[in-house]
Symmetry: C2
Subunit: 380 residues, 2 copies
Amino acid sequence: MQPMKLGQLQTPCLVLDEAKLEGNAARMREHLDKLGVRLRLHVKTAKSIDVARRVLRSPDNPITVSTLKEAEYFFSHGLRDILYAVGLAPNKLEHVTQLRSRGAQLSVILDNVEVARSVAARARATKDRIPVLIEIDCDGHRSGIVPGDPALLEIGRTLNEGGCELRGVMTHAGDSYNKDTVDGIKAMAAQERDAVVNSAKALRAAGLLCPVVSVGSTPTATYAEDLTGVTEVRAGVFVFFDLVMAGLNVCAVDDIAASVLGSVIGHQRDKGWIIVDAGWMAMSRDRGTAKQKIDQGYGIVCDARGEPYPELIMADANQEHGILALRPGARGPLPDLPVGTLVRILPNHACATGAQHSAYQVVRGKSDEIRATWSRISGW
Amino acid sequence: MQPMKLGQLQTPCLVLDEAKLEGNAARMREHLDKLGVRLRLHVKTAKSIDVARRVLRSPDNPITVSTLKEAEYFFSHGLRDILYAVGLAPNKLEHVTQLRSRGAQLSVILDNVEVARSVAARARATKDRIPVLIEIDCDGHRSGIVPGDPALLEIGRTLNEGGCELRGVMTHAGDSYNKDTVDGIKAMAAQERDAVVNSAKALRAAGLLCPVVSVGSTPTATYAEDLTGVTEVRAGVFVFFDLVMAGLNVCAVDDIAASVLGSVIGHQRDKGWIIVDAGWMAMSRDRGTAKQKIDQGYGIVCDARGEPYPELIMADANQEHGILALRPGARGPLPDLPVGTLVRILPNHACATGAQHSAYQVVRGKSDEIRATWSRISGW
């Protein structure tokens, strides 16, 4: 049977360039090797075992998940060392216990004494020393214990004395997405490191064990220069990259591995618009570049081989319609894209765009041959 | 077996109040009955046969779809009269033909001669008079032929002489979402009507048949006062409504039937933040109220019975974290919601939030009993 070509797909759909994925993965692994820390891949971006297999060196490598559904899925595919990196809600404890009883080496995070007491009670009741990392707030952007807060030791003791395994500390420098210089990201990487390294020291000084010291965000992972005291890095977006990362100089536009394939369905020539059948349902509503120096609308428009058209973006989107137009201020001309032309649109945010699709159509480089279709999961 | 309660669900998940759905459906049907037009329900909001059955009076009622996957799904559940209301891409013609050959009364739309020629060629090749509506641009917001453009007659003749069935004209007043007064929406409803009624007249004056004259948007459908000459109204969001519609005075906040159930997982008390396990993955990235008079963030926060907490919104969101806070300028106090508390968050945009979920947990009014779980579809 002849392999399928891009032109035979119904649009919209999600296209993944395997060569770019492999390049992105190799660069991150090499960088973390030099820093002497292990990668705990965050699988929330790709949510696909096929993608994970191309990034991990072995099924024994650890992963990070954002939902217990991801934990179930990756565990069913043979990955066992799993950190669920969203503060645990009490209604998920039963599910955590079930997964662990089936052999998943699942660890959880929390940042308050109330949940620590619940997890400890469950650990005692099930005679299972559930491993817990305490979440540290390194940059004020979300959850976690602020470094220096005495709650850290109270939580540590509650876990330790309650029958859990106090596995360590973790943080996520989400504010790195708001830095507009590489120096700013480097400083954030140092701040992220210091927050957890100092918290680990405080726990150890109080006589508590703290073997794992975990940091993670794609920008800080990319630009970290010294991770002394850190044991692992969690990152996920780097596998695909996206326009938000390109806007932060964390990648080049040419590194972006995932794009949405759409077809031209009409024109509004007086307005300089090209209408395609990929709207926000295919791209997601993410407008992450709106606050960056260059607003990319809903994405940069490329030809079917992945080569960007100069200055052409998805300027606006309805549910199943994308409006392509030249970037404000661009001189033109608008490329001539007749009805039926295939375009590929690079997304603002790989995690959000991926979530709108159930599979990847895998290509390699400039070839239009579909080499494989990889499924991905969604939901909770 | 005891029925399940809200408190037994794993969060986040999508909750649907069946009583509100029924009320919203009854009001719209009654209004359109008075105006003497039939409803062609747009199923892109709910994407669920169970929801459609509670809105339609009979399986013979017509529907509108935004994807051919919706057409497949609803046809498989016995609905036959289906309008695919996104300009046809040539790569979907084969799928259209397949669906029609299996008995679906599927019609399509287009706004240019190139696609008209493709559809006509397919009609001749398959000896199937594919029914086509010509899309009219009533408000400059997206696709369609501008009223008065001679292309209308050229397309009409191409279809008619080429072997298709010229079924009629259709338009969508998407710009009604940008009107900030009810009078503005009423004027838009008249403008939407006039655009298609006049286009139908132009086709008929040229000797072409134009039996169907179709308009549609939830705001204009709600406030239309006179639809003389119009034969059908397409609308979908009204089944659930949302905060964007409430901001347009198209519904009350209390009419909103769909909400996201989340659990409190922590606090940042110094900042006045409550952290929940429902983030943008559960709410979608839609920020449709950002441009309205009242910005609702990622949604209004209610208790588990659906009663809003005064001034509490989801102020920010990460992938699986929502940050709840008082609205800017609100005096407080912040409600005391301990870890584990269930909240329900009303969405900005029902179509976008629905798309993040695979099922509805159905409740009725203030009861916490899960009466049913209705699945929904996604993708293309």
